[in-house]
């Protein structure tokens, strides 16, 4: 079974600082990768996803992520964070083959951006 590790449980940044959130997965086969964001009191929203092709994926709100297959990583980045980026961020993975494509989530990273 696949698993996902998010190394940073809580990250605190000042506005305009650069962001990188780590995500590593364990699964020997081909995977699809996702980053979701959860704003306080809200449901999960898709930030970006990787299925194939260019390993550098651009998502909404200026976020991007890079898939590095050799490192089993899919780190999320943003060059300059805003106060409104305060939220919890989840990395998730599914297998690329097979009929059951349930998402496996990491434990999440709480990002706090100070004004």
């Amino acid at each position: 079974a696949q698993s996902v590790s998010q190394h940073n449980h809580h990250v605190i940044l000042s506005e305009a600082a650069s962001l990188e959130l780590g995500c590593n997965y364990s699964y020997g086969g081909t995977v699809n990768l996702f980053w979701y964001v959860q704003y306080p009191g809200q449901h999960l929203q898709l930030l970006l996803k990787y299925f194939s092709g260019d390993p550098l994926v651009k998502g909404i709100k200026g976020f991007e992520a890079e898939f590095i297959k050799s490192k089993f990583s899919f780190n999320l980045r943003k060059p300059s964070v805003q106060w409104s980026d305060t939220a919890e961020y989840f990395c998730a993975v599914t297998r690329s083959s097979g009929s059951a494509r349930q998402l496996t989530f990491g434990s999440g990273t709480q990002l706090t951006v100070l004004p």
Partner: protein
């Protein structure tokens, strides 16, 4: 996203009671999922369904029952609620393969006292 609706938004129930959480989607997505969200654990899969009348266990199925008689509905029942089932429950749906991502409902916050 109005296409997937969960009810109720909040529920308080007593230990030992049966409670059902509802999930309804309007996109005719074949796949539906139930997750629970707990601090430090992220989201963990309880049950999922590939189509009407097809369900399967996820990572943490014990104490839960699901059914899917219609494509659009996927209720989750706690047969005899325990305090350890206090959590936020999210329903999600997707097309086969999940190529368009997975869409989540707004969640149900359940407290078992």
């Amino acid at each position: 996203d109005a296409g997937i609706t969960q009810s109720p938004r909040y529920k308080i129930t007593e230990t030992g009671r049966q409670v059902t959480l509802m999930c309804h989607q309007t996109w005719s997505h074949s796949y539906m999922f139930w997750y629970r969200q707990d601090l430090g654990h992220g989201l963990r899969l309880i049950y999922y369904s590939a189509a009407a009348d097809i369900t399967d266990k996820g990572e943490v199925p014990d104490g839960y029952v699901v059914s899917r008689s219609k494509t659009e509905n996927f209720p989750l029942t706690l047969e005899s609620a325990t305090r350890s089932q206090t959590s936020v429950y999210f329903c999600a749906s997707s097309v086969p393969g999940g190529n368009y991502g997975y869409t989540f409902g707004s969640g149900t916050r359940l407290t078992v006292v």
